[in-house]
Amino acid sequence: MTEGGRRGGDAPSLAPQAWRRLSPALWLAIALVLIALGLAVVVGPVAAGQATLNGLVGAGYFALGAVGLTLVYGVLRLVNFAHGDMLTVGMYIAIAIMALGISFWPAAVLAMILTALIAMLLDRIMWEPMRRAQTSTLQLFLVATGLALVLRYSVQFFAGSQVRTVGLDTISSVDLGPWHLGRLQLVVMLVGLVTIVLAGIALRYTRLGKEMRAVADNIALAEVTGIDTRRTIRVTWLVSGAMAALAGILYAASIGSINPNFGFTILLSLFAAAVLGGIGNAYGALAGGIVIGLSQEWATLFFNPRWKPAIGFAILILTLLVMPRGIFGRKKARS
């Protein structure tokens, strides 16, 4: 049966927003804690805790990667199939900068800035003209695919297709009680989680964040209320590019090695996180990333780690089948 309404926007909602939005987040948090505790009972607190820690490491880059994807969708209604390769580009730019003698974290910051600029530039020369010409979903997909190929294989052209290490200390580890984590992984986890929190705060309280959310919700309405949508779009691309670069860098740092395909390989998991959280909703993407990160690691308690990415796919399929709006979404998903 058709879900209440056809494709197209919602009429303005008059129900109280605050508790409605908080509630799914609360439910999600409670569910995750309960699952963690349940796992502790089943496999013992050591294994469960270790998997949870590992999961939180992944949560960072999945969440940040998904945020960029979902923001672009929310503001522009564009499914950016080239987003995964922006993670790759970000990381390889960082590598190139490091080759100049600059150390890792400063290189990372520079790479984030450069990637953000690249994203904005691409909008200027590619996406904006297509928006003005009102191109179809198919054409947008083809352009995004073309862009993905250009990005990925340009990186491969210059850097070669072989797996390369990041050149950081991936050996030393830290002991946290009965659990342990690579020192680098611990840093990745902290940076990731802190950025998630900062992103959430920025979205909620800064003017730019509010404008982005408003435009994502209803662009016509946003314009009418005086928001400079063109600037919002530019900022969205900057943020998307920067977050993508950071996600790519965190991923590389936590795994220790990369190849030019890695961004594309995790794209589907990023989609899973974005769709799970409700595509277009940035908080949702952050939450979705946490769920994906945790689920993948928790799954390794029962399945061969080989199947980790499959968890992402499974979550994506389930979400599309059962709850296409996602946990936080309000957009119509059926046609």
Partner: protein, 263 residues
Amino acid sequence: MTEAGFAADPILAIDDLDKRFGGLRAVAGASFSVRRGSLTALIGPNGAGKTTLFDLVTGFTSPDRGTIRFDGGAITGLPPHRITRLGLVRTFQLTRVFAAMTVLDNMMLASPNQPGESLWHLAVQQQANRRSETAVRERALALLRRFDLENKSADYAGTLSGGQRKLLELARALMTAPRMVLLDEPMAGVNRVLGRRLLDYVADLRRTDDMTFLFVEHDMDVVMTRADHVVVMADGVVIAADKPDVVRADPRVITAYLGRAPQ
């Protein structure tokens, strides 16, 4: 609601229909019925819920509450294609002809029960398919002739003028062999001459094919002179349903239009 509101032998009966979008109650307990063979107008100020009502009746949206009965059977919650097959078809406010298909293709598409639309029949019953195509083509051309569009049959529908598209959409809807047609603002964007022609066709069809028409319209001239029954909606409910003269003088209707007296 006057006696005349609940017509004898209604072809369409709507009872206590309710539809909410988020916090907005677009249709708030609307009830009325349409008499068989009538030309009924649905009027009301903007935002009264008329288009939502059309969407509900034709299955594009399902109601939160209430029932819709068409020709003796319940159609509440059925998908659009099923409702059309039962004999209830609609046109759209902003015409939705298939622009990159020819006028003739637009018409032939709409014909129901074509064996050639089933892969199975295509494979094993070529004869039947060919015969059906010929018959459908003739029927389509005849209808186009009636609407003065025959000479456009080989053109892409996208090259037609706005008024011609309206005619095409109506002609196409008629190909589905309906018993009732819902017209969403048939006069919108159409010049007076063409509009009058369209209404003449409609009047013709009522006589010759015993069809019922329900149309949403803002042009009061048209409503008062052509409709034999008028239903008035405001704020999601039906506030009056009667003959045009009665409705015109109804104080609730006048108030709903904010003091603007209907012509």
